[in-house]
């Protein structure tokens, strides 16, 4: 029987990493080119710092729980 070698936390890390990168990118784009109808509290640029936070967690989890070959 094949052993489970990929941790659930690795999948979580990949998810946070990709979502964080996309949100951070969209947030930076909006800072450069503000939308015509911005959401409430747009000036706080939540997309930038929230995206960066998710990305940082994603990098940590993806590396720490990366699949490793079992001996």
């Amino acid at each position: 029987m094949r052993e489970v070698s990929i941790s659930i936390w690795f999948f979580v890390g990949i998810s946070l990493l990709v979502n964080g990168a996309l949100i951070l990118g969209a947030g930076v784009w909006e800072v450069i080119r503000p939308p015509e109808n911005p959401p409430v509290l747009f000036h706080l640029h939540a997309g930038v710092w929230w995206g960066a936070l998710l990305f940082a967690f994603g990098v940590f989890y993806s590396i720490y729980f990366a699949p490793r070959r079992k001996s």
Binding site: I8, L16, N37
Partner: protein, 566 residues
């Protein structure tokens, strides 16, 4: 105000490409997890119990995530807009004591008996008839719950994205069917942990930004007092009488009906959540898992109840019931969470918020489907139809039942569309089946004298009495003053009291019949009943590693929170 409302609606239906990318990535990832796990779930133990190798954290987060379905996210945000902070009782007194009780008192019996399901425990303790009754009731309730999840998700997709309601139902349900059929409970648990993280990541910005906009908790309370009533921000003080709170309930209904019967019934006997804990790798993990779940459960109101209160204070339009919203073309209570999401989130964040909602819906749905599959295969199909087939045969049956369960749920979703209030409907279902079941299981675990006939007739009498009281009030609304002790009681209050009465009927009938029938010898109760079972000692482990230590910490947090928001 109307211009703002129109702007909000326009925002609600607009998704940028980056939002769609986040949503599509989520679907790809959950299917990839199911595909990766397909080869691992070959035996019955693997497919139905995830190999019993989950850590306490994975089992605990999955235990909570399976409950973080459509009703948790949308339903309770809607309820907090409608009833105020009283809705928080379903997270605190309506969950925490029961979760701690499950971990410390009940889990040893579930785990040591090596049962694969709650009906399976009833078979060991009370016999085949009790198992059959509870399995059939559970299977019926589960597919209804799953249908409710689907309907709620499709509603969000319609409101936020303008997606066709039928398209949403079929896309989500087929995705769940594929990943659960491929990887069984292990796949459901893996995805539930992922979904748990995404729900927090996607939903946490709403209360943070909402509190910034409102100026903090103090100014928020002042706005709610202005828009609704000062009672909307107090947890216990409005419960002194039926008429002094928007829910029309007395504190006895909350403490006894919700805090004792419904809560203990749901968190300790609903196989949807108990199944996750049974998948733990050892007894200590199985005891810790509900306590970890309880710690996070106390915090969930931050992303569910608070957004509802913020909506009450900050949204420019007045939300109404489903029927009034359809008639006026406005928004209903159920839409408060997506409306708050659209208020604060731009491209990217909106996609993550929508993904959080979809994740919540899918985790609830997957929880229902995997629990239904296990109960159907082991407690109905194997017990009543085909007793001696191979393990491989039952795994195959499990995979097909997953797909069949999803299809039945889809049918249920279409039925649910005709009901005005999602939450009240589900509460009614809980009180039909769950409250009497708790009476049967808790007597079975704690009272050696309870007999097989006592367990069966108690469960049947409790369930029938609950349905009978529900029908009585439906046919004669004046009966509310007897069932719920007050003519002012609202639907939720009625459900609380009906649950309490049905539990009492179950316990009384079980005790009476047990004293009239022959008990099992004590040797047959080993591993099943308190007093006849040696609970394995935890050994010489550090205090911080003991489940009881963390249970006390969580209990203290629970008391402090209730006092702060009294």
């Amino acid at each position: 105000m109307s211009a703002l409302a129109v702007m909000l609606v326009a925002k609600l239906v607009h998704l940028a490409p980056v939002d769609l990318a986040i949503i599509v990535f989520y679907f790809v990832l959950v299917l990839a997890i199911g595909w990766y796990l397909r080869g691992i779930s070959k035996t019955g133990e693997d497919f139905f119990l995830a190999g019993r190798e989950m850590t306490a954290w994975v089992a605990g987060l999955s235990f909570l995530s399976a409950n973080l379905g459509a009703l948790e996210l949308m339903g309770w945000a809607a309820a907090s807009y409608q009833y105020g902070i009283l809705a928080i009782h379903w997270y605190w007194i309506g969950a925490i004591p029961a979760m701690i009780f499950l971990g410390i008192v009940m889990m040893p019996f579930y785990y040591i008996s090596k049962t694969h399901s709650v009906p399976g425990y009833l078979k060991l303790r009370f016999g085949e008839s009790s198992r059959a009754l509870s399995a059939i009731c559970f299977a019926f309730m589960t597919v209804l719950m799953s249908g409710i999840n689907m309907y709620a998700m499709a509603l969000v997709m319609k409101v936020v994205l303008g997606w066709d309601i039928h398209f949403s139902i079929w896309v989500s349900s087929l995705t769940v069917a594929i990943y659960v059929a491929l990887g069984g409970l292990r796949s459901a648990i893996f995805n539930e942990v992922l979904q748990f993280v995404l729900i927090w990541a996607g939903a946490m910005l709403i209360p943070i930004l909402g509190l910034v906009e409102a100026g903090g908790w103090g100014p928020l309370k002042a706005r709610i007092a202005q828009n609704a009533s000062a009672e909307y921000t107090h947890v216990w003080s409005p419960l002194a009488s039926f008429a002094s709170n928007p829910m029309g309930i007395h504190w006895t209904g909350i403490v006894l009906g919700l805090g004792f019967v419904i809560s203990f019934g749901y968190w300790t006997t609903d196989f949807l959540v108990v199944q996750r804990v049974l998948a733990a790798k050892d007894l200590r993990s199985a005891k810790m898992a509900p306590i970890i779940g309880a710690a996070f459960k106390m915090l969930v109101p931050f992303i569910v109840i608070l957004p509802g209160l913020l909506g009450l204070a900050l949204l420019p339009m007045k939300l109404t019931g489903e029927t009034a919203a359809v008639a006026s073309g406005g928004h209903s209570y159920n839409e408060v969470l997506p409306l708050m999401l659209a208020r604060y989130c731009g491209p990217g964040l909106l996609g993550l918020g929508i993904t959080a909602l979809i994740a919540g819906f899918m985790s609830g749905m997957a929880g229902n489907v995997s629990a239904f599959t296990t109960v159907w295969t082991y407690d109905i199909y194997r017990a009543l139809m085909k007793k001696n087939a191979s393990d491989e045969h039952y795994v195959k049956m499990g995979r097909w039942t997953t797909i069949l369960g999803v299809l039945i749920s889809v049918g249920t979703a279409y039925l649910v569309m005709s009901f005005a209030s999602i939450m009240d409907y589900v509460q009614a279902l809980f009180s039909f089946f769950i409250a009497p079941l708790f009476g049967t299981v808790v007597l079975g675990m704690l009272w050696k004298r309870a007999t097989g006939p006592g367990g069966f007739w108690g469960l049947l009498a409790g369930t029938l009495s609950s349905i009978g009281m529900w029908m009585w009030v439906k046919m004669d609304p004046a009966a509310l003053r007897f069932v719920a002790l007050s003519p002012h009681a609202k639907d939720m209050a009625e459900n609380m009291y009906r649950a309490l009465w049905s539990w009492i009927v179950c316990v009384v009938v079980t005790v009476l019949v047990s004293y009239m029938t022959q008990p099992k010898p004590e040797s047959e109760l080993t591993g099943l009943v308190y007093g006849a079972t040696d609970i394995p000692h935890e050994g010489a482990i550090a205090l911080y590693a003991r489940p009881a230590f963390w249970a006390v910490i969580v209990g203290i947090g629970f008391v402090v929170l209730n006092i702060i928001f009294w």
